[in-house]
């Protein structure tokens, strides 16, 4: 059980694709910073891999950038920094993708 944080937009970088090749079913992915753009419905990486693990997006980063929940994949859960800390409590190992 591992928590992966991803901080780059999949529209300009292939970082999330690399991350997904290391993820297993009980892992969690948290989209932070410019990684929150991967939560958009138009970001295809999520759709391709959605069943694989649990996805989260950091609310502060998403709202700072003007992302609206209605434009994002509904399966991705929104968490704030407090929820971010809870995810790190629940996962013993954290892998940061940047």
């Amino acid at each position: 059980m591992m928590l992966h944080t991803v901080n780059k937009s999949g529209f300009s970088s292939k970082l999330l694709e690399e991350c997904l090749r290391t993820v297993q079913a009980d892992d969690a992915i948290l989209l932070i910073e410019d990684g929150v753009y991967n939560a958009l419905k138009t970001a295809r990486t999520f759709t391709d891999q959605q069943a694989q693990c649990t996805w989260y997006v950091l609310m502060e980063d998403a709202k700072a950038r003007g992302l609206q929940a209605e434009h994002c994949h509904p399966e991705i859960q929104w968490v704030d920094y407090s929820g971010f800390v809870e995810l790190t409590e629940q996962h013993a190992s954290i892998c940061s993708w940047f």
Partner: protein
């Protein structure tokens, strides 16, 4: 595209915004350069493409992450006579963005118009 065709002599500086707005200082520092260029009496145009189009999104709230954002500077552009704002249509479509979601009025450029825009400026700053 009559704008693009006729204004060849006047356009001096093109600043391209390609990076997402909040993750780095690029958007702010590119905008600083645009404003200084205008203050120096240059005719400055802005082009938003790639993740730079996200800079145009309305309802941004950068205070949530302790940033000032570029919204105030963007609103000040007309005061600096920076009126030529362009956005690449391809980048908008790829990200599923409509013009109504944008906080700023921009002229949408199609594939043919993109190279023309670059060619007609004497200097391109590409961030």
């Amino acid at each position: 595209m009559s704008d693009l065709e006729t204004s060849q002599q006047d356009n001096q500086i093109l600043v391209i915004f390609r990076k997402a707005p909040a993750g780095s200082a690029w958007a702010r520092e590119a905008l600083d350069l645009a404003l200084v260029g205008a203050a120096f009496g240059q005719k400055v145009s802005l082009l938003f493409m790639g993740d730079g189009v996200f800079q145009l999104l309305e309802q941004q709230n950068p205070k949530l992450i302790g940033q000032k954002g570029t919204q105030a500077m963007m609103q000040a552009l007309p005061m600096y006579e920076i009126d030529n704002l362009y956005v690449e249509g391809h980048s908008l479509v790829e990200r599923g963005l409509d013009l109504e979601q944008l906080a700023v009025n921009c002229q949408v450029l199609n594939a043919d118009e993109m190279p023309k825009l670059l060619q007609q400026h004497q200097q391109v700053f590409n961030f």
